[in-house]
């Protein structure tokens, strides 16, 4: 064994014999050598000092021509023009291992003529590149990244993502200001309180008031801007919301305090102003963090669709935008590709997966003359087909627009907080006015009456109310996350707690979605290894199911010849022995007699025309399905089953788990219609599913719950994702929702009781700034503490 030595570029270690020697350097491959020389020539070799001993991936990959990055269609999709006239693209860079890699990429790009800015984020490997398109082209930029041993591909930095980040940053800035100022105001306020009890010169009081005022100003007008805006939009829609209460309370208090500072008597409330804004702003920020918008979901779905199809025109293949494909064009689809247009096959044959549209899990065989439907997937078919509709009228487009409708029609159940805060805000504002007039008319003078009215608003200003929901839902979200239940939006927890009806999909939700052997009838003395090797040849779910119960033989048999028969099974030959594996139809056609009758799927295995083994397969019901249905029904929740499957198998599952309301042979649209009917009756409907055939219903359901192993689109549309696919999690998620909603109610109760106790004091005129500040902090602490208590109880 010769000594091992590290490659100068990638630092992977290999034996010295196989390395390429180049002066004093050793390289593991030409790729590394090339990159090393390129970096030396460019004067970027200080990269190796920076990278240390980190091991890199050797740049051995060959890339296809990068010129397609310069195609106008590509530019149109991914490249934006900045207001100065430069081009901008978002890339994901592959192969970044360490911060030196980031340094190298940025440096190499900066050295390029015409590149204005290259900014790479190490955490998510996303890069923002701005360049002058007159000087350098995108393809050259990507070539450069590839040349130094990385790869880049563009992604569509959708506006949604950008605007969500911007909003988050905006809140972050405002909260920073509010926290900074509020904390300093509180220090100064401590001196004020001390002075209140032990006596303080008026001059000193004024100095402290001015300092507080200076600090409270940015809190009110910068950080508090969000409440002014919210109040304005609320008024525009004729709603009195919490924002209005916060805004008027804080503003009135602020100007009153300024007045006190100038006239040099009474107590200023600057500390209350900054505290109200800070606390409620934090509560609002927590809400913003856990929000998703419907357009995000749609974006994600349409992004998964290719935008171009391969079309055969004049004997040549062209990539043509979907919208430009005409009726009568010949479209080429290869195995593994999505069918994007409707048409009729004119050449080729093969299997298609239509589960997207029908929910039918068996592949469907199609040949010349059969029609293909857009939205389906070619499993192993290479076909040419003549389009019968343009893209706009295709089944796929129809499905997407249906989905769009469903998402937009999703009912928004009004949250308790909104409902409550409207009444609360109105009540407090009225109460405050009444207090003012009450004192004024009793002859206490404008100033005194005004001060007491302000105190009512300040004391009622609901920091705790503002925090009640966000803190509770945060607890709910984290409880879910720990158990593999992802709630996409905090508000869903509350909606889910009000569930009236649960609709369950059958395949993949109540059952495992894969056939499993439930019974076998085997003649003694046949070679199991033969059968194992035979079923291994097929990817058909039935064959896979049979394979599962067989032991893997020592030596797998290699057949001399074998053939897969569509929708029948497999025939194989070994030294003149004929082996048959397949369904009843195959046996009939081969003239074999069998006396086996069952509702289940059957698989026969015959050696030389004699059946030696029979398997019964069934899509097995999940173990806890019955328990789930029972528990739900006990809780008074209606349970129904919706399935695209036929009556017999639907009834079998329904009877076994105890669901009496069953709807079968439903198309995705039928499921949606069933769900809409229930919603129109005023019920809160939860849909549980996993497949694309459920998406319409999932999208419009009050809550769509998706199994984590479900299709990507379904996960995108769903509101709650159960990562472990289990029905136990489903029950758990409902329980968490219930707990959270109870917690919200408790928190409201706490803050309302607090207000009930303190408001009379304020009306009676006994409230000083210290009492206001303490009551505010204390009620907020109680709310947060109560939420923590629930969290602690659950984690035990």
């Amino acid at each position: 064994m010769s000594e091992k030595i590290a490659c100068t570029h990638c630092h992977l270690e290999f034996s010295k014999d196989v390395m390429i020697q180049d002066g004093e350097h050793y390289f593991c491959c030409n790729g590394c050598q090339g990159v090393y020389h390129l970096l030396s020539d460019e004067g970027l070799d200080s990269f190796y000092e920076k990278v240390g001993d980190t091991k890199l991936a050797p740049p051995t990959q060959q890339y296809e021509d990068s010129s397609n990055f310069d195609a106008p269609a590509f530019y149109e999709k991914f490249v934006k023009t900045t207001k100065e006239g430069f081009s901008e693209v978002s890339l994901i860079i592959e192969g970044i291992h360490c911060s030196a890699c980031v340094w190298l990429n940025e440096k190499a790009l900066h050295k390029m003529e015409g590149v204005i800015e290259a900014n790479i984020n190490f955490t998510n490997n996303k890069a923002q590149i701005i360049w002058d398109d007159d000087i350098v082209k995108l393809s050259q930029i990507i070539d450069m990244i590839r040349a130094i041993g990385y790869n880049a591909y563009p992604y569509d930095a959708s506006l949604q993502e950008a605007s969500a980040n911007k909003q988050r940053k905006d809140y972050y800035l405002r909260i920073s200001v509010a926290l900074f100022a509020a904390m300093n105001v509180m220090w100064i306020a401590v001196a004020q309180y001390a002075g209140y009890f032990s006596g303080i010169e008026q001059e000193m009081k004024t100095i402290l008031n001015i300092a507080e005022g200076v600090l409270a100003t940015p809190v009110l007008f910068y950080s508090g801007w969000i409440f002014f805006r919210g109040a304005y939009y609320g008024l525009k829609n004729r709603v009195i919301n919490m924002d209005l209460l916060v805004a008027t309370g804080a503003t009135l208090t602020y100007f009153y305090s300024i007045y006190i500072t100038i006239t040099e008597h009474g107590e200023a409330y600057f500390d209350s102003v900054s505290m109200i804004i800070t606390f409620v702003l934090i509560g609002k920020f927590l809400e913003v963090l856990s929000k998703k918008s419907a357009t995000d979901t749609l974006d994600a779905i349409t992004k998964q669709l290719p935008t171009e199809a391969r079309v055969l025109r004049d004997g040549e293949m062209h990539s043509i935008k979907l919208d430009d494909v005409k009726v009568g064009d010949i479209v080429v689809v290869s195995s593994g590709e999505k069918v994007l247009l409707d048409g009729e096959i004119i050449k080729g044959e093969g299997n298609f997966d239509e589960s997207n549209l029908t929910g039918e899990s068996e592949p469907i065989f199609k040949k010349v003359g059969d029609s293909v439907i857009s939205g389906t997937l070619s499993i192993d078919a290479d076909v040419h087909f003549r389009t019968s509709k343009d893209f706009e009228h295709s089944t796929l487009s129809a499905l997407v627009s249906l989905l769009e409708n469903a998402i937009n029609k999703k009912p928004k159940i009004e949250q308790l907080a909104n409902k409550l805060s409207e009444h609360f805000s109105t009540a407090i504002l009225t109460l405050s006015f009444a207090t003012f007039f009450g004192w004024y008319l009793s002859g206490y003078g404008f100033e005194h009456s005004f001060m007491i009215a302000i105190a009512v608003i300040v004391i009622a200003c609901p920091c705790a109310l503002g925090l009640a929901t966000p803190v509770a839902t945060l607890v709910g979200l984290s409880l879910g996350a720990k158990r593999g239940i992802l709630f996409k939006e905090a508000a869903q927890l509350e909606t889910m707690a009000k569930t009236d009806v649960v609709l369950l999909d059958k395949t993949g939700t109540l059952t495992y979605g894969k056939p499993e052997v439930v019974k076998q009838d085997i003649d003694i003395g046949y070679d199991e290894g033969l059968l194992y090797s035979l079923v291994k040849l097929s990817n058909h779910p039935v064959a896979q199911g049979v394979k599962k119960v067989l032991e893997k033989p020592q030596n797998e048999v290699v057949f001399d010849e074998y053939k897969q028969l569509q929708a029948r099974g497999i025939v194989a030959y070994k030294k003149g022995v004929e082996l048959l594996g397949g369904n009843a139809k195959l046996m009939q056609e081969m003239g074999l007699a069998y006396e086996y009758k069952s509702e289940n799927t059957l698989f026969f295995f015959a050696i030389n025309k004699k059946i030696v083994a029979t398997f019964e397969l069934q899509d097995r019901i999940k173990d806890d399905a019955k328990e789930l249905v029972n528990t739900l029904q006990q809780k008074g929740i209606e349970v129904m089953m919706l399935t695209g499957d036929h009556q017999k198998s639907a009834m079998r599952v329904a009877n076994e788990v105890g669901i009496s309301e069953v709807f079968y042979e439903l198309s995705p649209e039928d499921k949606l219609e069933k769900l809409t009917q229930l919603q129109n009756d005023g019920k809160v409907v939860v849909m549980v599913g996993d497949g694309v055939n459920d998406i319409l219903a999932l999208a419009q359901a009050d809550i769509g719950i998706v199994m984590g192993s479900g299709s990507d689109v379904a996960i995108e549309v769903g509101d709650v994702v159960l990562l472990d696919d289990s029905l136990k999690s489903l029950l758990e998620s409902l329980k968490i929702a219930k707990t959270t909603f109870d917690l919200i109610k408790q928190n409201f109760a706490i803050s309302l009781v607090y207000n009930a106790l303190t408001i009379p004091l304020a009306i009676a005129g006994y409230v000083i700034p210290l009492v206001a500040a303490i009551s505010m902090s204390l009620s907020s602490l109680l709310v947060v503490g109560n939420s923590m208590r629930i969290r602690y109880k659950w984690s035990k």
């Binding site: 207001k83 006239g85 911060s99 440096k107 204005i116 984020n121 955490t123 920073s176 100095i207 600090l215």
Partner: protein, 75 residues
């Protein structure tokens, strides 16, 4: 203690705190905290050479911008 001194001390400390706050806000707006890894590692790549490179890049950017302004007219 004299009231004037208290006023001065309050003023000075609020001012200093304010300066720190503004610096922080600037850094957040500038995206310096967007990528915590890069932010933490930045100190490793802060040599004379890197500074020169950064200055050069800045200059190049300005030049290209000027050039573009002469040529480019957004419609």
């Amino acid at each position: 203690m004299d009231n004037g001194i208290v006023a001065m001390m309050l003023g000075a400390s609020i001012f200093l705190g304010g300066v720190a706050l503004i610096a922080f806000l600037w850094a957040v707006k500038n995206g310096q905290f967007d990528d915590e890894e890069k932010f933490l590692n930045a100190v490793k790549f802060d040599g004379v050479e890197d500074l020169n490179d950064a200055a050069m890049q800045e200059k190049k950017k300005e030049e290209l911008k000027k050039k573009k302004q002469r040529e480019y007219k957004p419609e």
